[in-house]
Symmetry: C2
Subunit: 192 residues, 2 copies
């Protein structure tokens, strides 16, 4: 959230931003913002504020985002295809370097500069393309088996869109769009 | 998670499923599963298990998912367009009934059976199409203003893909794909 706010301020050409302006952006208190940012060392000047570009770089470094992470898109359905050219991934240091699907009609197609390869090529191509992280967007029933293959191929983390809990030895970030929508519908019903 | 597991079991044609099979699917204990499902009343039979179809229907009812929710897609970029024909939304009782964008090249186009309308039509069309929930996938800088318009038009909840915290009086479910990927990269770096 800090990065989003700082990047937006930098994008607007602002050379400084106050802790209260940052706090307003996401409903924290000034004190919380100053406390959080103090963890990074001396980053702001009292009465002046923070330099958005410098502070964003400092946060990126502390989060290991000051490098390029190579992504594989695994499963090129609607979501997978959308993420192949997702501008906010590219802007954040993430680069799609490989894509895989089981559908013969998709294999060989080129989306946003990346050719879709057959799943059978996964292990070899993941190694060759130096892929760090996988975006798993395959159907639920095959997700665990593909995830196991990905980890065996050397993938170090998975962004999981499949509606199953994965059992793997690497970090997983689950994103279940249907569940989020169901949760929203439930909250709406509860507050009505 | 229960719904995913029960729907999968029903899809495989199973007439019963045990609490331990459900528990295995997402790493709970049998006891936790039985306790959770007991909240819905008498749903299973000792030594026999649960009927996937019946139990899924009971859960859907308790979550207000036993009806159709009309969705508007607001912002038809890569993610918005992908969600217009997203099969898992349709399968879960969510139906896209309207779509909006500011881009003249997109307006008038038809994606998965829904015509893209100009943002200026938002208030009128949201009322006419009886839209319940909005999927907000517009750029960050305009997200708050569009969200305000949506709530004024009668939208009751927002699935928010824009990288900003919205200040509105309806439930919001945020989904920040870049943030999830950054979080994943950070976890991978921390465990390396």
């Amino acid at each position: 959230m800090y990065l989003r706010t700082l990047d937006a301020a930098a994008g607007e050409g602002r050379s400084t931003i106050s802790s209260s302006a940052i706090a307003r952006a996401f409903g924290f208190t000034d004190a919380q913002v100053r406390r959080d940012l103090a963890c990074l060392g001396q980053t702001g000047r009292p009465g002046v504020g923070y330099q958005p570009v410098t502070l964003a770089a400092r946060i990126r470094k502390s989060l290991s985002l000051d490098r390029t992470w190579n992504l594989a898109i695994v499963g090129v359905g609607k979501i997978g295809a959308a993420l192949m050219g997702y501008p906010r991934f590219a802007g954040g240091g993430f680069r799609v370097t490989a894509a895989f699907d089981a559908d013969p009609d998709l294999i060989g197609q080129d989306i946003a500069g990346t050719r879709i390869e057959p799943l059978s090529q996964l292990e070899r191509s993941v190694r060759e393309a130096n892929v760090d992280l996988a975006v798993l967007a395959v159907p639920g029933p095959v997700a665990q088996s593909v995830a196991t293959d990905l980890v065996n191929a050397g993938i170090r983390g998975i962004l999981n869109f499949a509606p199953v809990r994965l059992h793997v030895d690497v970090p997983v970030q689950p994103i279940d769009l249907s569940r989020s929508l169901e949760q929203l519908a439930f909250e709406v019903s509860s507050t009505a």
